[in-house]
C-alpha cells in the first residue's frame, strides 16, 4: 500500500465526519436514530479493529470490554446516582482496567489459545453479570432513568434522549475515536503494531518490546470498546446482559471483516452495511439471518479483505 500525505488522509476523515454531520439534517427520523446507534457501535468495531486489524490478534471476548463500559456507566447512574460525565468516565475506566488485567493474562498465549482465553474471560464476565443480578438486573437488564440522562454544562442542560442531541453526541464520540484511531495507526507506534502482525519474531529482533506494545494495544482497544459501551448505556438508556454475551464478541469481528480489517473507516462501513442488510431483509423474511450469512459468504469470496480493504487493494492504495 502506498502512503498518503497526512493532509489527504485527514481530509478524507474530516470529510466523512462532515458528511455524517450533514446527514443529521437530511435523514428521515428513523434512519437518523438508527445512524446514531450505528455510530456508537462503529466505535466498538473501531476498538476491535485496533487489536484484530493492526496487531493481528483475534479476540473472541471483546463483549466484556463493551459490557464493562456499559455497566461501568449504567450502574454508576442507576446505583450511585452519578452524573453523565462521571458515569462516562467510570465506564471508560472500567474498560481500561479490565483490558489491562485481561491483557496481562491473555497475552501469555497466542493464536487459537488467545481466542479461547479471551472467549473464556468474556464468558466469566457474562456469568458474573448474571450472578450479581441483584445489582446488574441479570438477563433482564435495567433501564437508565430518562431524567438522569442529562448532560449539564453550567446553566445549559443537554437531554441525551433528544434525538438531535443524541445524534450529535454519538457523532462527537465517533469523530474523536476515528481521529484517535487515525493518529495511532499513522504513528510510529501504529507501525510497530503492524510489524508485530506481519512478523512478531522479526520485530523482536529489531529491538522492540512486542509484549509491551501488544499490552498497550489491548488496553487501547478495550478502552475504546468501553467508551462505546458507556455511550450506549447513556444514550439509549438500557444495560443488559445480552450486550455482554458471545454474540457481541462475534459482531465486531463481522463488522470489521465486512468493512475491511486494518482500515480506519472499515468499521463504520461494516457496521452500517450489516445494520441495513438486517433492517431491510427482516421486513421481507424471518430468515433474514440466512441472507446475512449468504452476503457474508459472497463478501469473503469476492472481497476477502472486506469492502474498504478491497477498494484499497484495487484502486485506492493510499487509504489508511
Amino acid at each position: 500500500m502506498s502512503e498518503a500525505s497526512p493532509a489527504k488522509a485527514y481530509a478524507l476523515h474530516l470529510g466523512v465526519i462532515a458528511l455524517l454531520f450533514l446527514l443529521s439534517f437530511l435523514l428521515p427520523d428513523y434512519y437518523h436514530g438508527l445512524l446514531a446507534r450505528i455510530m456508537v457501535l462503529a466505535v466498538f468495531a473501531m476498538g476491535y479493529n485496533i487489536l484484530f486489524g493492526y496487531v493481528g490478534l483475534l479476540s473472541l471476548g471483546h463483549a466484556m470490554f463493551f459490557g464493562a463500559g456499559l455497566y461501568g456507566a449504567g450502574l454508576a447512574v442507576i446505583q450511585l446516582g452519578w452524573s453523565v460525565p462521571a458515569a462516562m468516565l467510570s465506564g471508560i475506566a472500567c474498560g481500561a482496567v479490565l483490558a489491562l488485567v485481561i491483557a496481562l493474562l491473555a497475552l501469555r498465549t497466542t493464536g487459537v489459545a488467545f481466542m479461547i482465553v479471551t472467549m473464556m474471560f468474556a464468558q466469566v464476565f457474562y456469568l458474573l453479570v448474571l450472578y450479581f443480578a441483584a445489582w446488574t438486573g441479570g438477563d433482564q437488564g435495567m433501564v437508565v432513568p430518562q431524567p438522569a440522562r442529562v448532560l449539564t454544562f453550567g446553566a445549559t442542560a443537554l437531554d441525551l434522549t433528544n434525538p438531535t442531541v443524541r445524534y450529535m453526541t454519538a457523532l462527537a464520540l465517533f469523530s474523536l475515536m476515528l481521529l484517535i484511531t487515525l493518529a495511532i495507526v499513522r504513528s510510529r507506534y501504529g507501525r510497530v503494531l503492524v510489524a508485530i502482525r506481519e512478523n512478531e519474531e522479526r520485530t523482536k529482533m529489531l529491538g522492540y518490546d512486542t509484549f509491551s506494545n501488544k499490552l498497550a494495544a489491548v488496553v487501547v482497544s478495550g478502552t475504546i470498546c468501553a467508551a462505546s459501551g458507556a455511550a450506549y448505556a447513556l444514550l439509549f438508556g438500557y444495560v443488559g446482559s445480552s450486550f455482554a454475551s458471545v454474540q457481541y464478541s462475534i459482531l465486531p469481528l463481522l463488522w470489521v471483516l465486512l468493512g475491511g480489517a486494518a482500515t480506519t473507516l472499515g468499521p463504520l462501513i461494516g457496521t452500517l452495511f450489516m445494520y441495513y442488510v438486517i433492517d431491510i431483509t427482516s421486513g421481507y423474511t424471518s430468515a433474514y439471518l440466512l441472507i446475512v450469512g449468504i452476503a457474508l459468504i459472497l463478501l469473503v469470496l469476492f472481497f476477502p479483505k472486506g469492502i474498504l480493504g478491497s477498494i484499497r487493494q484495487r484502486w485506492l492504495g493510499w487509504l489508511p
Partner: protein
C-alpha cells in the same frame, strides 16, 4: 395483517422552488380530478396502525408465532365488528429477534418510520425492558403482553402498559394459599438461575410464609446446565412439595432425570406452565408429571365448564380441545400467555374509544384514558376471566388456574380469585410527565 418495510422516505428532503411548483401543479390537478373526494374521505377513515413487536426469531419464536395467530384473530374480530372508532385496524409486524437491542430499534421504527399509533405485543422481559426507554422517548404507548413484574414495578415509564395479562408476582402470590392448603407445607424450589427464576425465588417464600408454609430449600440451576441429576441430592428428604419452574429445551431432560431419581416415590410436584408452553404434555419423558399440578394462565385443554366466550375465543384463534392448532395436533399453542394479546387489543380498543383517539397527536390522551380504566368484565373481549386494572402501576389483576395432569391432559382443579393476587402498589406512573 401486513409486513411493511420502507427505505428512505422523501418526507424530509429539501424542497426546491422547482419541486414546490411541480407540487402545486400536481395538487391543483388532483383537486379537480374526480377521485379527489373519495381520496379525502379515505384519509379521514385511514386505518389505525398497530406496530406488533414480534419474537419471530430467537428464543421466543414459539411464543411469537402464537402471539401473531392470536393477534390476527383478535384484529379480524375487531374489524368485523366495525373496528375502533369506526376505523379499521391494521397490524404491522417487525421481528425483534427476541433481542433487547433490536427491540429498541423496532420500537423506534414503528414510531418514526411506520408511524404506528401504538406498539404492542412483546413477551420476553429483557426485550420489554430494553425497548421501554425507546417507547418513552418517542412518547408512543407500548402495550406489552409479558407477565413480567417490570411494568408493575414502576421502573419503566408512563408509556408502558400491561393490561391483558397478570404479572408473575401476582401469579405466585395467588398460587401460595392453594399450595399450602392442598399440596404441602414444606416446599423445595428448583428454578433457573436467571431473572425468571429469581421472580419465583423472591416472591414465593413470603407468600407461602403468610399461609403457614415454608420454603425449606432453594436450588438454582445455572442456565448453561444440560444435566440435573447432580442437583437432586440437595433436595431435603422432608420435602413435601417440589416447586419447579425450569424453562427452555432442557425441561424434558430435567423431568426425565427427576423421574429416574425418584421413581414412584416422589414428593408432590407443582410447576408453572411456562416450562411446557408449546410442548406436548404427552412427550416421551414427561410421564413422570402425571398427577402433578401446574399454574396455567388460560387453560390449554378445553374444560367442561368453559364459558361461551372461552369457546368462541378458542375457535377464533384456531386451537382444538387439546390446545393444539386445528388440523395440526403437534402444533401446541402457548395458551397460558397468548390470550393476553386478544385481551390487550380489546383494552386498546376501549381506551382509544374513551379517549376519542384520532391519531398520534392523541397519544397522551390515550395514556390517560388507559390509566382511567378500572375493570374488565369476563366476556368475548376478556375470555380468560374478569380483571381489575390499576392505572397507577399500569398492570391488570385477574384469576389464575391450577390444573392437574390426568390421563395426558390438564384438568383445571381450582381457580383463584382476583383478590388472591393483589399487592401494594410500588409506585405511581401517573405522577410522571406525559
Amino acid at each position: 395483517m401486513a409486513d411493511k418495510n420502507g427505505f428512505f422516505d422523501l418526507s424530509k428532503t429539501a424542497l426546491t422552488r422547482r419541486t414546490a411548483l411541480k407540487g402545486l401543479a400536481a395538487g391543483a390537478g388532483l383537486a379537480v380530478a374526480p377521485g379527489f373526494v373519495r381520496y379525502a374521505q379515505a384519509q379521514s377513515s385511514a386505518p389505525i396502525k398497530i406496530g406488533f413487536q414480534s419474537h419471530r426469531t430467537g428464543i421466543g419464536a414459539a411464543y411469537g408465532r402464537w402471539y401473531e395467530k392470536t393477534t390476527a384473530a383478535a384484529i379480524k374480530a375487531i374489524n368485523a365488528a366495525g373496528g375502533i372508532n369506526g376505523r379499521q385496524v391494521e397490524v404491522i409486524i417487525e421481528d425483534d429477534g427476541t433481542d433487547p437491542g433490536r427491540g429498541a430499534e423496532v420500537v423506534g421504527k414503528f414510531a418514526t418510520q411506520h408511524k404506528t399509533d401504538i406498539v404492542f405485543g412483546t413477551l420476553f422481559s429483557h426485550v420489554v425492558i430494553g425497548s421501554a426507554p425507546a417507547a418513552g422517548e418517542a412518547k408512543i404507548p407500548y402495550f406489552v403482553v409479558s407477565e413480567g413484574h417490570h411494568v408493575a414495578s414502576t421502573k419503566l415509564n408512563r408509556y408502558v402498559f400491561q393490561p391483558g395479562i397478570t404479572d408473575v408476582k401476582s401469579q405466585i402470590q395467588a398460587m401460595a394459599p392453594w399450595i399450602a392448603g392442598n399440596v404441602g407445607k414444606k416446599v423445595t424450589m428448583i428454578f433457573p438461575d436467571f431473572a425468571f427464576g429469581y421472580d419465583h425465588r423472591d416472591y414465593l417464600p413470603p407468600a407461602l410464609k403468610a399461609q403457614g408454609a415454608d420454603v425449606i430449600a432453594q436450588i438454582a440451576i445455572p442456565p448453561t446446565e444440560s444435566s440435573f441429576t447432580k442437583y437432586f441430592p440437595q433436595i431435603p428428604a422432608e420435602t413435601e412439595v417440589l416447586y419447579h419452574v425450569m424453562v427452555g429445551p432442557a425441561v424434558l431432560t430435567f423431568v426425565k432425570e427427576l423421574g429416574e431419581f425418584y421413581g414412584s416415590n416422589r414428593p408432590q410436584l407443582f410447576g408453572f406452565m411456562d416450562s411446557l408452553e408449546a410442548t406436548d404434555i404427552n412427550s416421551p419423558g414427561l410421564e413422570f408429571l402425571d398427577g402433578s399440578h401446574f399454574w396455567e394462565g388460560s387453560p390449554r385443554y378445553a374444560q367442561p365448564d368453559d364459558s361461551a366466550a372461552q369457546k368462541a375465543y378458542r375457535a377464533a384463534v384456531g386451537i382444538d380441545d387439546n390446545g393444539a392448532a386445528v388440523g395440526d395436533p403437534k402444533d401446541i399453542s402457548t395458551a397460558s400467555h397468548m390470550f393476553g394479546c386478544w385481551e390487550t387489543l380489546y383494552v386498546v380498543k376501549k381506551a382509544m374509544e374513551d379517549a376519542g383517539y384520532k391519531g398520534p397527536e392523541d397519544r397522551a390522551k390515550l395514556v390517560e384514558a388507559t390509566e382511567a380504566l378500572t375493570e374488565f368484565a369476563e366476556g368475548p373481549e376478556h375470555p380468560q376471566g374478569p380483571k381489575t386494572f390499576n392505572g397507577k402501576i399500569h398492570q391488570c389483576f385477574g384469576i389464575q388456574n391450577i390444573s392437574k395432569v390426568e390421563g395426558g391432559k390438564l384438568k383445571v382443579v381450582h381457580k383463584t380469585k382476583i383478590e388472591d393476587g393483589l399487592y401494594e402498589a410500588e409506585g405511581d406512573y401517573t405522577t410522571q410527565a406525559l
